[in-house]
Amino acid sequence: MKDFVYHRPSSLDEATGLLAGAEDAKLLAGGMTLLPTMKQRLAMPSDIIDISGLSGLSGITVTADSVEIGAATKHAAVASSAEVQAVIPALAKLAGGIGDPQVRNRGTMGGSVANSDPAADYPAAVLGLGATIVTDRRSIDADSFFTGLFETALEEDEIITKIVFPIPEAAAYVKFPSPASRYALVGVFVAKTKGGLRVAVTGAGPCAFRATDFETALAKEFSPTALAGVTVPADGLNADIHADAEYRAHLVGVTARRAVAEIANGGAA
């Protein structure tokens, strides 16, 4: 790994200042993505700004209609939170299915969402629940946040501080994990929200996206059979050694029907 200057700021302001001041600075949260990338020299930042211990950036607050999760909150904390389990169990389940226990002990929600890995789990929940991404300078709607492969609406030096998830009437997340990494080959998050039905897909495309045809069909009739014959086009979907685009398109349908069935059967809310 190439050397860098290490900073451990004690406030968000200090972190913002450091990020703006350095030549090619990177935030370090759990490091579960950034450090492997740096080992391969795919990233060679001049400065590392370690925000993993920044107080105020982690923690879970449940209000009457939302769950607010600090950006540096670890996956394990979300998975084991009794409060999250009570109001958005699908989110706790999703967090508990990320990688392995050691990844969950260190990886953070902000790092995952900022990274917009095509196979990451959290983006499906952020988009599926219509969450708001709050940064050091503004609030961004989930619908305009994920813009492409490892691309988001974030500015170079913008820091996610928390993510606000509206509490849905019901939601479910089903993923078809890669047997090796546990990343989502395909994952589908279905939610009945105050703003309507939302179906978000991860793993299949360059970044998380909404399956609007699925949403329309489910708005008419909320049952797995309502999705019979509804598909996402394979065009532009990911293809790799694990699965080609047609197979992923097929999996989106299967996984979505499972998620709908889970809600219809009153499984995960």
């Binding site: 370090l28 490091g31 492997p36 590392i48 394990a76 226990p101 990844v103 002990n105």
Partner: protein
Amino acid sequence: MQIALTLNGKEVSAEVRPSLLLSEFLREQLGLTGTHVGCDTSQCGACVVHVDGVSMKSCTMLAVSAAGTAVTTIEGLAQGDVLHPMQQAFHECHGLQCGFCTPGMVMSAIEFAETTPEPTEEKARAWLEGNICRCTGYQNIIDSMLAGAAKMKSTQAGA
């Protein structure tokens, strides 16, 4: 950079370069080679240690990030000649063959025992997602984890 941390119960301070991984710090700078490095790509779990009581992959953490924490490695478990109950269980249940994965397995298994109120085979298997073994076929590791968890519970109850 100067860092200070508690390592296996003792205060340690050292000068490290920022890019030094915790695994490299332990093995190369301090000579604690019980922590193994199998993959160095965050997959195998041979490098698992405890940081503030929580299991982490030391190959995917900077030594500087461990400043101010309490780190426990496999070397810090036994009390003199008396093995930790989880080590004892791996010994009794033949939870290892070549032993390469074992330090990480034991460190991971201890957190499993501490955080799982009612351990079952299914829960143990799910917990091992991040620990790979090329030798045993896992069956004896699962047996060790469950036996070790029971031992830890009874040791605690007796203490």
